[in-house]
Symmetry: C2
Subunit: 136 residues, 2 copies
DNA sequence: TTTGCATGTTAGTCAATGCTAAAATTTTTT
DNA sequence: AAAAAATTTTAGCATTGACTAACATGCAAA
């Protein structure tokens, strides 16, 4: 598989908004086995019609499935993308909190903003830096 | 001056878009003493009417002045805000390129995305981290 | 000075993304 | 099973921020 092909899934095709939604679906399924519109709505603090519209967009992109009045679930492509975003979030949070000392609540928000802007390659380099730093 | 008052100027009141525009005005004035709509347009790769609309927004916020068919210039508040964004950009670029080894062209783009998401306090902490790291 | 090109502005459109109010459907309770 | 509550969806709207096409203005060259 070429790098271009791989990047179709994980690199920034979605904006911040859709990435936040898909990440919430991913987290909720891990935590409670399902992700209803209301769950996503309260998790992200968005009105339910906004969530509904976003899920429709994600569904059109083949990243989630959604039966009327039913559960929202990730497709395999959706899982890959969401896991990648989640991973970036975790690495950034670790860097901000542990290495440079940002308050965890602020870091949580900032990681959430930044995670959509860094490419896979940069993230890999950041992880390598953190490892090296941890081993002095 | 309270922290809240100071933050009115420098903290994230503008979105990424307007911050990019004001940063371009700041840079162009430093480089060539003026920033015309066309200069900003080619610098940012935006159509001129888009620039025009953005400058109107910045003008309504009291951050730039703009005479019809004339030069765009920063107000004192605009200078403060733009210098702050520029500074964040430079710190992030340095971190990405020198500390973690990102390609300069990619780092330039990523710094440009991230600079709008990090608060002043986090930036201060990042600068402190870089200093400490440089002095081993 | 007049013509023509560069620059700036206006007008109209579009996509993304959010909202509220109200209708439809499902689930729960009695 | 019927009524009530919760959930989801639809419909309609607002804002941001981008675009193109067309018009207006300013400057420079002939």
């Amino acid at each position: 598989m070429s790098n271009e092909e791989k990047s179709i899934i994980t690199e920034r095709n979605l904006g911040k908004s859709l990435e936040d939604y898909i990440e919430a679906v991913y987290d909720l399924h891990k935590e409670q086995g399902q992700a209803r519109i209301s769950d996503i709505s309260s998790r992200l603090g968005m009105a339910k019609p906004s969530v509904n519209a976003a899920i429709k967009r994600l569904s059109a992109l083949g990243l989630v499935t959604h039966e009327r009045y039913g559960d929202v679930d990730l497709t395999p492509d959706g899982v890959r993308l969401a896991a990648n975003v989640r991973h970036k979030h975790n690495v950034l949070l670790d860097f901000l909190v542990r290495l440079i000392g940002v308050d965890p609540d602020i870091a949580e928000n900032e990681a959430c903003s930044i995670e959509h802007s860094l490419c896979d390659d940069t993230m890999t380099k950041l992880e390598a830096f953190i490892s090296k730093y941890d081993n002095h």
